[in-house]
């Protein structure tokens, strides 16, 4: 009954979405506001409708309706309540419903904004949002229906179908298979919603870009309207990526956080174009340049968002993440191809009206450095894309599937990431329009010397000799000094002109230029993350060994002593084997760790949970590999020392904080900078 309600709500959503898109196109072309208003109301309706579907599914999940195939595949009686709710996105069919739900929420929120000044955009924003939404709802209805039931045929066979086949009776199931144990982790509960929020939020700036192309209102109005949307999308996408890394570090037990897995890359690619977009729109706002480029970037981001959903959801590529597999691949490819070509066609139609309002003159100007930053982000994107499609390409060309692994990505992207760090150090000190080596040199020599002293001196004194890490530490120090120098300069100037005390000046300065200083805080976050990445990538130590009870194993400054192991069953269907390991650092006891192995009975799957000791200097990461029968009391451990890795998580935190500062609503008029720019442009021409 509830399943029919949910399914029915989705059918109605699909009909309404298609109607809304058609009405908006008609109303937009014929300039009939009543049709556009009808389309707007249709879009507003999708949210309550999909809410009914999503809540029905949650009801079924929570109440153990295992006759629903999806429910029995992702939940079981022993799962706690909150995991049953989050099982909504534990499998493919549910994820697509969840995706659509978020999409409709964002689409509805957009319709509720004040449209007075931008009436002409409205129909086309509705068209893009509703076509995207109806595509996903269609996938759910035709290919991945989470409400399909399991039927028992008279022959004893089981069939999965929405409607009752002739002569069949509903299978009554006592229990389900339960969620994959690897997904039962707080990071994994929050990570998919964050990624999905990021994905769907990027649809909104894309919708406005398309609206600008269709209506021919190709000034930077669409960028100003969607500035905050873009930042919010980017914030969620970043959060999703960081949490995914944390989940991998805590759960997957290989001592790392990022494996260059195709699915990780799929989520990373829209982030790359999104980041490039965030930077290059500033050039359009300040100087009226790169208008074509910004359109290309947002179109690419949208396509990559859909591609990302497709990669995670279709199982075309072998990946640890391929928890979901199905045959909806061709549908996704068709949709991406169609939307991409239509977007490009619209862009070519408006090519001439998107001409730049000026020229880039100096190679060291702020805008030229931003352009370089864009090139580097695109370079990383191409590396990622090439790595993901290389098996397919090689198979087409040579009939031989050839893959590239993490070393490929690391080798090809490391110089590009280093280039980005260098730009982060230089660009804030360069001026718009005209900047010469002389003016830039005057601004940068002091931070460079400081960075060399600290970034090279300290590691050298500590005995670091590998040049990649020295380059990395130098760049980290350079960005840090330049960024603090920027804060200091701005604060001092305000302190002098406004007669404010230094802390007040700092706060007011940030409040008046949220985007700029939020951006600098994000840069500081990146620097901290870079520290962590350099630490774990270049200085990770590992060892493994089997030791009897009371025996020891040493790595770096640490000595581990295996004390005991206990094995017990828990009420939620696990057998837990938990070792107690005593840790000494430089001969001094620093505590105990409890690496363990949980064995889930219902899925017959073990899960390794490392024992981790966190410090700012390094992480001691201990995995219980195996243990011998109780009599001999020996156990095997794999041990990692991951230097500086906690700076990575701290950096993630600062990064998010900076994005919040940048995205926080401003009271100042949005039109101000545009007018200012036009005025300067006129004076220059005169």
């Amino acid at each position: 009954m509830i399943a029919d309600l949910g399914f029915g709500a989705l059918v109605i959503t699909f009909v309404i979405s298609v109607y809304g898109a058609a009405a908006a196109i008609y109303g937009g072309i014929k300039a009939k506001p009543e049709w556009v208003e009808s389309a707007r109301l249709a879009m507003l309706l999708t949210f309550p409708l999909i809410s009914i579907a999503a809540l029905s599914l949650i009801y079924l999940l929570v109440n153990g309706h295992y006759e629903i195939e999806y429910v029995s595949s992702v939940t079981s009686n022993s799962m706690p309540y909150y995991l049953k709710v989050t099982a909504l996105w534990g499998g493919q069919a549910g994820s697509l419903v969840f995706w659509s739900w978020l999409m409709s929420a964002f689409a509805s929120a957009v319709t509720l904004r004040k449209w007075d000044r931008d009436r002409e955009f409205l129909p086309w924003v509705i068209v893009v949002s509703l076509i995207t939404l109806s595509f996903f709802v269609m996938l759910v209805l035709l290919f991945e229906n989470p409400f399909a039931r399991i039927w028992r045929m008279p022959s004893g066979q089981f069939i999965v179908a929405m409607l009752q086949p002739a002569g069949a009776t509903l299978a009554s199931m006592r229990d389900g298979q339960g969620l994959n144990p690897l997904l039962r982790h707080p990071g994994m509960i929050v990570h998919p919603p964050m990624l999905y929020l990021g994905f769907v939020a990027f649809v909104i700036p894309y919708a406005f870009a398309i609206a600008a192309l269709v209506t021919g209102r190709t000034d930077d109005r669409w960028i100003r309207i969607t500035r905050r949307w873009t930042l919010v999308a980017w914030l969620f996408l970043s959060l999703g990526l960081i949490m995914g890394g944390r989940w991998a570090y805590d759960v997957l037990g290989w001592g790392g956080y990022w494996g260059w897995d195709p699915v990780e890359i799929a989520a990373f690619m829209p982030w790359l174009t999104g980041t490039a977009f965030l930077h290059s729109v500033m050039i359009q706002e300040k100087r009226g340049l790169l208008k074509h480029w910004n359109m290309v970037l947002i179109i690419l981001t949208y396509s990559l968002v859909i591609f990302g959903t497709f990669l995670t959801r279709s199982g075309v590529l072998s990946s640890v993440h391929a928890f979901a597999q199905s045959a909806i691949g061709p549908m996704f490819f068709g949709f991406i191809g169609l939307t991409f070509s239509i977007s490009l066609y619209l862009l070519l139609q408006r090519w001439d009206s998107l001409k730049s309002e000026g020229e880039m003159t100096s190679l060291l100007s702020r805008e030229a450095l931003f352009l370089l930053n864009n090139l580097l982000f695109m370079g990383i994107l191409i590396v990622c894309f090439w790595g993901v499609i290389f098996p397919l390409v090689s198979e087409l060309v040579s009939n031989q599937k050839v893959t590239v692994g993490p070393p490929f990505y690391e080798r090809a992207t490391a110089p590009l990431f280093a280039g980005l760090l260098l730009l982060m150090g230089i660009a804030p000190l360069s001026a718009w329009r005209h900047s010469t080596a002389k003016t830039l040199g005057r601004a940068i020599w002091k931070p460079t010397i400081l960075a060399a002293l600290v970034g090279l001196g300290v590691p050298l004194a500590l005995g670091v000799r590998s040049w990649p890490s020295l380059v990395g530490f130098f760049l980290v120090a350079l960005v840090t000094f330049v960024t603090f120098y920027e804060f200091w300069r701005g604060m001092l100037a305000r302190h002098r002109t406004q007669k404010e005390s230094l802390p007040v000046a700092l706060l007011n300065m940030i409040a008046r230029n949220r985007r700029r200083y939020g951006g600098y805080i994000i840069h500081l976050g990146v620097v901290l993350m870079a520290m962590g990445i350099i630490g774990i990538e270049l200085f990770q130590q590992e060892t493994q060994g089997t030791i009897p009870a009371g025996g020891s194993i040493s790595l770096g400054n640490y000595t581990l002593t295996y004390k005991s192991l206990a094995s017990f069953d828990t009420a939620d269907g696990r057998n837990v084997a938990r070792a107690v390991v005593n840790v000494e650092k430089n001969g001094k006891p620093v505590g105990e760790l409890y690496p363990r192995r949980d064995f889930f009975f219902e899925s017959q799957q073990p899960m390794t949970i490392p024992g981790v000791r966190n410090t700012w200097e390094d992480d001691l990461y201990v995995i219980l590999v195996d243990w011998l029968p109780v009599s001999s009391q020996g156990a095997s451990f794999k041990v990692y020392v991951n230097p500086l890795v906690n700076w990575l998580w701290l950096g993630g935190f600062v990064f998010v904080l900076g994005t919040l500062v940048a995205a926080w609503p401003d009271k100042e008029s949005e039109l101000e900078p545009a007018r200012a720019r036009r005025r300067t442009a006129v004076t220059v021409e005169a």
Partner: protein, 169 residues
């Protein structure tokens, strides 16, 4: 006169950007090409490993196969892990024709005539290593015919059929 000078300045300015851009593009192309060359791994099925013979020795390989559960041997003392994988088709169409990955893996393991490959790995035993799992193994072929693995990736397709006997009906 002034106008031509300005135009000239503009064109040399644009030249600078074009040259700079081309240099960066060239650098990125070089990075991708050289990294691809240095790190390419041939993705083979077990049958292909045998048909290629000596041609693939000392090359980085990636091999996909079905894990035969009975063959898994693990010594926690040395962390030496050996197991045997059976051939599964590399083409998705062939796998679909057999009724999906789970069925293809099952067929591979129960068929005594399939080509098999012994794999040796040193390290912790992965949680997902079990009968009828799909193993994707990275490493090199040893001269003794045993595959020396550096990395194991395992996938277990979900099979709800297994849960069916549970029902009361």
């Amino acid at each position: 006169m002034e106008r031509t000078l300005a135009a000239e300045n503009q064109s040399t300015g644009r030249m600078k950007f074009i040259i700079g851009g081309l240099l960066i593009v060239a650098a990125i192309v070089y990075l991708i090409a050289s990294s691809t060359h240095a790190n390419a791994q041939y993705f083979l099925t077990v049958d292909e490993v045998y048909s290629k013979g000596a041609a693939i020795q000392n090359r980085d390989l990636r091999i996909s196969g079905a894990v035969i559960g009975d063959s898994i041997q693990y010594d926690p003392g040395t962390l030496n892990l050996t197991f045997t994988i059976a051939h599964i088709p590399g083409d998705n169409k062939d796998i679909e024709a057999q009724g999906g990955l789970a069925a293809a893996l099952h067929n591979a393991v129960v068929d005594p005539n399939r080509k098999t490959l012994v794999v040796l790995y040193n390290g912790p035993k992965p949680d997902l290593l079990r009968d009828e799992a799909q193993a994707i193994i990275t490493g090199k072929m040893g001269s003794d015919g045993v595959f020396q693995a550096d990395e194991l990736l395992l996938k277990c397709p979900t099979k709800y059929e297994e849960a069916m006997p549970d029902q009361a009906g």
